[in-house]
């Protein structure tokens, strides 16, 4: 994985912002320049590292793979407009957006990788790492928070030994949050492996998480 060095931060961000208007031209720019511009978009420290261009050792997956995306790409006639639809579908199928997958999508939609990554990293629901075996998501919407989601988060963080928004190192469970599922009548809510559990208490949620492990 690529780690950004703050000292490498380009000096002229304003220039980069102007350039971001002309994303279509990225691909016509020399490889170095392209890399530079793409890199700026991923520069923010909260963002995951951008996928890097790989030349020689493209994996077999990249060349032939992602067959499951063919139908949705065809349905949208490979129009760049469909980027988010395609990414949603891709994440549903492959569980996360790998570097290879993003590159595949970029090539098929005729978009620069920078724009594909820039868009994907903007939205909260896209993930760039393989999910853990289990998932526990606490709703932290207003109603759930008023009724006690904070206590659930604290208890879960303590039980799992990880902070909200991270995964256990052994890949056993992700602990995440969602801003309102719109099912507030049953607050506070916790989603465990896709199943919404209503009116949770510290005891019930700990029991559910322990039963997973």
């Amino acid at each position: 994985m690529r780690v950004f060095n703050p000292r490498e931060r380009p000096r002229r961000r304003s220039q980069a912002r102007e350039d971001s208007e002309k994303t279509k031209e990225y691909s016509e720019i020399s490889p170095n320049r392209y890399d530079f511009l793409r890199w700026i978009e991923g520069c923010d420290s909260v963002m995951p590292s951008a996928p890097t261009e790989r030349s020689a050792e493209a994996s077999a997956e990249e060349v032939s793979g992602f067959e499951a995306l063919q139908s949705i790409l065809a349905r949208h006639q490979r129009s760049p407009d469909s980027l988010i639809e395609v990414l949603n579908h891709a994440q549903e199928t492959y569980h996360y957006l790998s570097d290879d997958l993003l590159r595949h999508v970029a090539r098929n939609l005729g978009l620069p990788l920078s724009q594909v990554f820039g868009t994907a990293s903007f939205y909260h629901l896209f993930r760039f790492q393989a999910p853990a075996r289990h998932n526990c998501t606490v709703c932290t919407g207003t109603a759930c928070s008023v009724i006690g989601a904070g206590r659930l988060v604290e208890a879960l963080e303590q039980e799992l030994g990880i902070r909200l928004g991270s995964s256990r190192a052994d890949g056993s469970i992700d602990l995440g949050s969602v801003r309102c599922l719109g099912t507030c009548g049953a607050a506070p809510l916790v989603v465990i492996d896709g199943v919404v559990a209503k009116q949770q208490t510290v005891a019930s949620v700990l029991e559910a998480v322990r039963s997973l492990r």
Partner: protein, 543 residues
């Protein structure tokens, strides 16, 4: 010999709220029981949209009794069917009708004359909870697409715009812009290609009106969009919906497909030259995409960042085409207005706000759920009377409306009649209709910090006041909560709130400080109580 008993219909709520309470299992169990006893012809098990008091799920209604049961579980299914069969047997003996004497094991029978039901006026939700949203035939039976047919065959686009204009309908997404005016602006734009967009990116935490409408009666929204398209001269439509609403997405997908199959959407509708196709666009989790220019970017597959207006979407929207953007509930109001006439609609509500409004009532309240009331109903009626007030042992402190873009109405102001103007005077907004009730244990500074954290996380980062301002505001609020703040910090908090409000690019930033300003207005003493005592500061400074 008596006449055979009327067929029964068990309406089983299958919206997301009840699904979390095991509604799917209940429905299956009922179906299994009915088919085992070979009663399929006599008892219909119907999955329907939201039945109202979601906090009491899973809900089940029995027709024609009109009985509503709460807290029904799958294991209650056989008992209910047995009770129904026993009643038939008894009625067959003496021919007398009997009330249904059955209560679920751990649930209860709800009294439908309670204010929660009796004070409602269902216009948008008239079919919600009655029809099976997965079957277009059920919607058509209740008159779906009749008004579209009438508009296309009998009315001119101008007449439709005029009707909506005269009804006084205002946008239900939050800002309350007159819908008729918006329609006529788009209708006047030159060009053959226009777009209609339905904003179903209901991101305000604590709000689920749009989800419930889409889950319970998707054809209502599709028909409203099609009528709008006819009125403004558009041929393409998009529904932008948030990815969290999986069931609403599923129901909408099905509804669009069925409507196309029935030739109610598509080309050459009702033997005219009018055509309208709808595409679903699923978001990927960005609150800012509820802002119309950001939403347009997102539909175009780009980052959901807003841009300055003008040009307004009515001039340049999706793909640079004139675009009409309305909220789900706004579109859902179109059909009844056309059917009953603009005068009928204008007679409901207050002088400045016409019609009804759907609210989602949640938080520290006994009867939470989905309800629809005429505009001008007081908050006290909604929260105290319909919602039953705070649970045993607590009192209501405030009601939060409008989500992170709104503010808090303190308990002392609950007599306010809810409309666009009165809420604005109180420093909050109607918003999309989320209402979160807070009891006396709620720390208002922590609540303000909660919303500020939300806005900080959701700021798209395009303009500085919002990107940097929300971080600073959240920091200042945290400082208050930690007990480290001074009077100068409080003054800075207030000043910064006004700066962010006045200088941000889009609605997210402009309204991000509202929860802080509103709590400062009504609960200032809570902020002041958190300030570091002057003595402590003096001793710190001394050495």
């Amino acid at each position: 010999m008596t006449a055979p008993p009327a067929p029964l219909c068990l309406r089983c709520c299958t919206s997301a709220g009840c699904l979390a309470s095991g509604a799917a299992e209940l429905r299956q169990a009922l179906q299994r029981a009915v088919s085992c006893l070979e009663l399929v012809d006599r008892i219909e098990i119907r999955g329907v949209g939201c039945l109202g008091p979601c906090s009491q799920g899973a809900l089940l209604a029995v027709d024609p009794d009109g009985a509503l049961f709460a807290g029904v579980r799958a294991e209650d299914a056989t008992g209910l069917i047995a009770a129904l069969v026993r009643r038939w047997e008894l009625e067959a003996i003496d021919g007398q009708r009997r009330p249904l004497a059955w209560t679920p094991g751990r649930g209860e029978r709800l009294d439908t004359s309670r204010p929660f039901f009796a004070r409602q006026r269902r216009v948008v939700l008239e079919n919600c909870g009655l029809i099976d949203p997965e079957r277009i035939e059920a919607a058509i039976e209740r008159g779906a697409y009749d008004q579209l047919r009438r508009a296309v065959q009998e009315l001119t686009p101008m007449q439709v715009v005029e009707t909506i204009y005269r009804s006084g309908l205002r946008g239900r997404g939050g800002a309350g812009y007159p819908t008729g005016l918006k329609w006529s602006t788009v209708a006047k734009m030159p060009g053959d290609h226009k777009v209609v967009v339905c904003n179903a990116d209901e991101g305000d935490p604590g709000a689920f009106m749009d989800r419930s409408v889409l889950e319970g009666d998707p054809h209502r929204v599709l028909e409203g969009m099609a009528i709008a398209a006819f009125a403004v001269g558009a041929s393409r439509g998009f529904i932008y919906i948030r990815a969290e609403y999986t069931l609403a997405i599923e129901n909408l997908r099905g509804a669009i497909e069925q409507a196309q199959r029935h030739r109610l959407l598509g080309q050459r509708l009702f033997d005219s030259s009018f055509e309208f196709t709808v595409e679903l666009r699923v978001g990927a989790g960005a609150y800012v995409c509820g802002e119309e220019t950001a939403l347009i970017h997102s539909i175009e597959g780009k980052r959901g960042t807003p841009r300055p207006r003008p040009p307004y979407p009515a001039e340049q929207g999706v793909g640079g085409l004139p675009t009409l953007i309305n909220n789900v509930e706004t579109f859902a109001n179109v059909v009844p207005i056309l059917r009953e006439g603009s005068d009928w609609y204008a007679a409901i509500g207050t002088t400045s706000s016409k019609g009804t409004k759907v609210f989602s009532l949640t938080g520290n309240v006994r009867w939470g759920g989905l309800l629809e009331v005429p505009m001008g109903t007081s908050l006290a009626t909604i929260v105290q009377e319909m919602g039953g007030g705070a649970p045993e042992g607590s009192t209501i402190k405030a009601v939060q409306t409008g989500g992170p873009s709104g503010g808090c109405v303190p308990a002392s102001e609950l007599n306010t009649a809810v409309d666009y103007a009165s809420l604005q005077e109180l420093g909050t907004i109607m918003g999309s209709g989320g209402m979160v009730v807070m009891d006396h244990s709620t720390n208002m500074v922590a609540l303000a910090a909660f919303f500020m954290e939300f806005c900080r996380d959701e700021s798209c980062g395009k303009c500085v006041p919002c990107r940097a301002g929300t971080v600073q505001l959240h920091g200042l609020l945290q400082k208050h909560l930690a007990g480290d703040a001074t009077a100068a910090d409080l003054a800075q908090l207030e000043a910064l709130c006004h700066m962010v409000k006045d200088t941000s690019l889009c609605g997210l930033g402009q309204s991000a400080p509202k929860p802080v300003l509103s709590t400062l207005r009504f609960f200032r003493e809570e902020y002041v109580a958190l300030l570091k005592p002057v003595a402590a500061r003096a001793t710190e400074a001394a050495p």
